[in-house]
Symmetry: C2
Amino acid sequence: MRSIILSVGTELLFGQITNTNSVYLSQQLNALGIDVMYHFTVGDNPKRVEETLKLALENSDIVITTGGLGPTQDDLTKEIVAKVMENELVLHKQSLEHIEHFFNRLKRVMTDNNIKQAYLPERAIVFENDAGTAPGFALESKGKIVVCLPGPPREMTHMFQKKVLSYLEKKSNSVIHYKMIRLFGIGESALEDALKDIISSQTDPTIATYAKEGEVAIRVTSKRKNRKEADEAVSDMIEKIRERIGEFIYSFEDEDLVHVVAKKLIERNISFSCAESCTGGLFAASLTEIPGISSVFDRGIVTYSNHAKIEELNVSEETIEKFGAVSFETALEMVEGLRAITDSRLCISVTGVAGPNGGTEEKPVGHVNMCAILDGEKVCNEYKVRAVNRNWNRNYTVLLMLNMINKLIRD
Amino acid sequence: MRSIILSVGTELLFGQITNTNSVYLSQQLNALGIDVMYHFTVGDNPKRVEETLKLALENSDIVITTGGLGPTQDDLTKEIVAKVMENELVLHKQSLEHIEHFFNRLKRVMTDNNIKQAYLPERAIVFENDAGTAPGFALESKGKIVVCLPGPPREMTHMFQKKVLSYLEKKSNSVIHYKMIRLFGIGESALEDALKDIISSQTDPTIATYAKEGEVAIRVTSKRKNRKEADEAVSDMIEKIRERIGEFIYSFEDEDLVHVVAKKLIERNISFSCAESCTGGLFAASLTEIPGISSVFDRGIVTYSNHAKIEELNVSEETIEKFGAVSFETALEMVEGLRAITDSRLCISVTGVAGPNGGTEEKPVGHVNMCAILDGEKVCNEYKVRAVNRNWNRNYTVLLMLNMINKLIRD
């Protein structure tokens, strides 16, 4: 099946918002084995929406629209889809009740505009909106399908996962199952190299790799007659991948590194503290993003100046003078100093050259030293981070710290 | 003039990257007074690129393409544009020299593929690529214009600013000048309310408002016969806006709050330290993102546990028991404790309920207390942040801290 994603909304053409809906839908449709031929974006202009919809229908089997389902006069997607697909809009009672319920719950007054949202094409397969008021729907006619989804990304993705996915699975007479594995410490090209023969001979399951800010993900997708077959095919392939590059895999459940580490720390009740220099608080900030972390996080000391390293962590002035603030020795004294002032089971320290300035031949931008102590066990690592820019260097250094902790508490 | 943005690249249709180029170009074109009619995205497929380009030319005066200018076989934009615009590709000597120079500088070997990048339509107006190898160009024929830009956002935006902007200004026989003002502490709807009469009667300069993660921006744009007139029109309008809502403006130069504050701290050599609870290191992490901050940032203490507040900052156990860890009293003792251990001129503390749990009726999620001392002058503030989610609450709290510092060191 060939699909086209049609985004409706003048705010997109003004550049006021980024079209993340097309990214999400493209990923989902490709995983379903549905080719995405084009993305079209058009403003809230009835004539142009109609022309573009017709053009999209001529060039694909299924058109997915987002936006233009709201209560205002600008919102015209539904009316135009009904017209093009030769169907009438009628009041959909269940949707009206759902909208009334939504307003009652929020104790807000419902206006006449909102009733407009409950009018849907007569033959539509309706998708209830659990995260908002505008229902979505699919409409089939003459071998073509139009799926209309709300514009707000939270409502759209929720509806897609809960309602549209199974509808599309049925359309393709097969079941799709996929799993996303996450890896750290291996680049995308090294990854493709390691799996080259599997990727090139892939039919089902298919393998797609994604790289994002230092982390890499593999999506394994199988499309089979029934759920059991698809599940097994995906599991077998993941086992094959694990045999080759298992050491780099940190999640089989599509969780990012900070969530994986935070979860382990909380579940195993490992109290922790950190001493940061080059990351300037970013390590603490990353972990404290996770709800519930307060049960295990004691304190973080950001010792940016040498002065602070000496006063807060008892790093000796001689060590800094002799080996430098960025050195194995300083990182070690930082973690030991931290260990002395907190009873946290896990202590970690980091010092490095974030850039763009401050690099030397011996210790260029991207040079990082880190140490961790977990229940008396000590690990120290040194890295040369590929120096992209200050932001990247700091983010990647935090990933290195998280990865070090993850390995340390693995078993 | 009507324009269409045509993005070329199969990776976009796979959802592997987000189309930020279209957002940027839409903002720029609208600011130039050029209407954006559609965004089209197509894969690296010669037939479909050609069809879409023709369609775009039929429906606009100017088509801006991004992507497909690289050295590989997939990169076909240039060839197709030349064909559709009935022009031959010829070797552009200057571009070849530029590419050779680029490779020499990086000490990398240049392959034959790269020479392909120096072939350009004979009548093209060439835009040199200061940030990469693929040159961009504009090609005019039969009253239509095609502008081809490289796909990597950094190269594209750089080329647009340095080369394409002045080209488009000349095309529209006028000069466009705009300024972006940044505000904090006023919502987008309150802002529109305050400027309602100006916005509704706007012809030139035009005013557009943008909201992004708690901050608001206003773009004032004027399109006149010459630079002087445009400059003056923009300045006059900004003065009008300043008279009404000047107290909320923190930048007339389109800088965000953290840059404005970091710059002031560095320029005025104000040493600073921070004590964070609910933001968990995010305040320190935000400021240390700015290069050069190490000249003034001494230390940050992330006291997440009560224990840490007592031990690191000398907050009294009684204060926490009596008033709570989130209270005016605790925030005050935190900043005073911090002041006692560092000789920083500026000390700031924060404590609050980040959520999703931990809120009470008296102190719900989003309740924040913060205190700052600058050269002996003390300020304490209490806020109820609109509790969207943990991430938002933390980010907004950091903005509140930055805003507090900005006001404190304003004069």
